[in-house]
Amino acid sequence: MDFSQFLALHEEISLVAALVLLLVYDLFAPEKGRRHIPLVACLLLLAHTVFCACDFAASTGCPAAAGSRTAFAGMYDASQAALLFKNILNIGVLLVCLQACPFLRREDNGIKAGEFYFLLFSTLLGMYLMLSAGHFLLFFIGMETASIPMASLVAFDKHKTQSAEAGAKFILSSAFASGLSFFGLSLIYGGTGSLYFADIQSGLTATPLLLGGMVLLCSGLFFKISLVPYHLWAADVYEGAPTPVTTYLSVISKGAGVFALCLILTRAFPLFIEAWQTALYVLILLSITVGNLFALRQKNMKRFLAFSSISQAGYIVLGVFAASPAGLTALMYYIFVYILSNVAAFGVVQLVEQHAGRTDMAAYNGLYKTNPKLSVILMFALFSLAGIPPFAGFFSKFFIFAATAESGAYVLLLIALLNTVISLYYYLLVVKAMFILPPAEPADVPAFKSEAAPKFVLVVCTAGILLAGLVSCLYALIDRTVLLG
């Protein structure tokens, strides 16, 4: 075997290097140095992010190297769009890592800081493999590498029963989901005789066996993206998991899941486009509507954001439904903007939780009086999620609706539009609580100063929310990359 093929896996090698360095540091650092593990992890990830960005710039710069990069007889097949998407994920993970710093400085977590980042990076590695697979074996190894460490992260607060409960719910539903996927895949293997995306595409015939296989295979992915009716685990897990992990689950895992769904549907099952478009139509409709209706009645911020993210997932999948380059571009752009807005929202929730120990919505009454800056940031984030101009969320929604309109599904588009109005109502409820309702006496959330790392994350996210829509080169870059293939 020719081991030099591994050299084609630039991002993966760089991430594995960062992982190993972190592990070595965690093992051999003196007692004093262990306090700096979050810093070391963030620096390593920053170096990795910069390396990936340079690598991406180099590969788009010279036309000879552009296009997809393959290794292991097509098992690894990274398109240019997947490379760009990995960069988007890097930025998101870096933000989450910084956001997690105060959580890991807590006394009981200090000793586990290294493991936290190790697990986080492993899930990222899994997502990389999933995004650049050309064969279902690599795809599933990636998917499991992404979700198994995730379960231990969800159950990270060992002594909190909520965290343990969330962990059990997550691992059981994710194992069940992958079981369904595997079974569906075995049916597809029986029908086509191969596990390469390309061979499956050429061997497809419209038999019930293969259609059933595809449905089962995709159900597993719908679980990871938490589309309705596969969403039942989401709210509980989001509420019980430590807040940085919730952030990671709601933005990074979800984003990677949608991109992977798009990848396998367009690469392996283009023949079944009518079947999967119909299925997605129903799922999107349900996700957007049910997610919104349940978000209306939530009293806990983390559950509230969980249901909001279920309905956001519906909007993101609109990009898959469109099944066009414009749809893929809109999808990647939406996920980028969604990462910024949701990390900002969860960042504020985490800070309030850290300083006041509460995540229920009543604690936010009159937050503006005590912590005006945080309130404004949370308002920006929620407006961006709702899609109000001039925030970036408006532009991402605009592009994804434009792509849907191109595919001709006007009824779906209309319902999605109506739902943005409903979502605006419940986002405004939070804004109203912060700015208009009087605070309790004495204030639930005292005025506090946050640490440097989460403050930096909030500033970056706010800048992103304000600028990502107005600076058009970002969308142009994604568009160019998608057209390269």
Binding site: F136, L137, F140, I141, E144, I148, A151, S152, A155, K158, H159, T161, Q162, A164, E165, A166, G167, A168, K169, I171, L172, A175, F176, S178, G179, L180, F182, F183, L185, S186, L187, Y189, G190, G193, S194, L195, A235, D236, E239, G240, F294, R297, Q298, K299, N300, R303
Partner: protein, 106 residues
Amino acid sequence: MANIPMTYYLVLSTILFFAGIYGFITRRNLLAMLISVELILNATDINFAVFNRFLFPEHMEGLFFALFSIAISAAETAIAIAIIINIYRNLKHIEAQKLNELNDLK
């Protein structure tokens, strides 16, 4: 081995698959639910091995997938059992129905 037709294996794996789903939905003990998931994964492995052996004997793709799937499910079980043990330490039970601290009704 060749005397047993392929259909028999497929019937077995289908029964295993649906028994797994049924168990996952009806069982109220976390370990029993985990075992049900294992049934589903075993059904998958049988399917892969059978399809490979009977329909596509020229390549080994299915058998390899089955091998990897066994390894993956072992990892999954290890994590799940670790989490279940943690629940037992905290709550002194592993009944799914009593795991209701996180819910909509607060």
